[in-house]
Symmetry: C2
Subunit: 196 residues, 2 copies
Amino acid sequence: MTADPARRNERSRRAILTAALDLLGETGYADLTIEAIAARAGVGKQTIYRWWRKKGAIILEALVDAMAAAEAVALPDTGDLAADLRTVMRATVAEFADPKLSATTRAITIETLGDESLGVQVRDQLLRPQLDAVKDRLRAGRDAGQVRDGVDLDQAVELLFGPLYHRWLLRTGPLTDDYADGIVELAVAAIRPDRK
Amino acid sequence: MTADPARRNERSRRAILTAALDLLGETGYADLTIEAIAARAGVGKQTIYRWWRKKGAIILEALVDAMAAAEAVALPDTGDLAADLRTVMRATVAEFADPKLSATTRAITIETLGDESLGVQVRDQLLRPQLDAVKDRLRAGRDAGQVRDGVDLDQAVELLFGPLYHRWLLRTGPLTDDYADGIVELAVAAIRPDRK
């Protein structure tokens, strides 16, 4: 019996994904090449091209893998909704403000805008777990009487991440802790129960 | 004296921009070619390449020109802030929901993500006038006591357009009148004065 050449070798796959993320951190996305990934992983370029069409797809799979290996995404629940949202928004704003992380996210965004199936993959595998974690925290807040009944929780999540995404993509303003706190203050005001 | 060959001929420039926008409407951005624009405008391809590097830059200049020719952007002011914001958000959501307009905006977004100087141009010439018009309407609302003192008006604008942008880019939900109204309801709740 001969091995199926199309079947992925798990050890090579992991070596390639690890090499890709390491190199990404060292050189940034723009200078990342398939050649360099192959050399670092100790595989041939053809091995990589057999499994992925381009570097955006490799990085995406590496990030999805890293995410799956991490603890399940969950927000802190200290009972103070605004404080917990500030924690997650400050961390997220800091990621977008980091030049290296930002360059990677920008590169992935370009790829996904031009390729709808990749866009769906990024949305469902990378983004959705993070958005759902925030939605879960908002639902717990609603159960605790801190969120108005009838608020659409998907829209409430967008109220937090939409402004950040807009500002980051369009480069319309600074990305700071103050900014993160400002978004949370407005979002919490938008969803809180009507006062009697 | 010889004419400066680098100096743009205004009649040719206008013919090219008009041809570009007409063809964009007919074929969509993906199938738009420099060849087709040149043929429609009655100029040589080289004339176009002398002035613009790629089709994204032509479309951007055409849109900026069209915007400058239009009436100054201003929102309605009926005295009812929520109603006026619903008008503008419904119109904006409809633009993003339109497949042809959406494809153009998506293409321009890809270009601007990959080219920071083009990004700054789009932000300042195309986007800023629209965001400022909404900011002016919010300022009028604040003067009329419908917006809390101390609300950052730039953040309030992002509270309206950020969620839409997020949903459109990431394809996370439907773009409907109900959605537009939902955003406005949340944003207005976020910025209204504290009740006594």
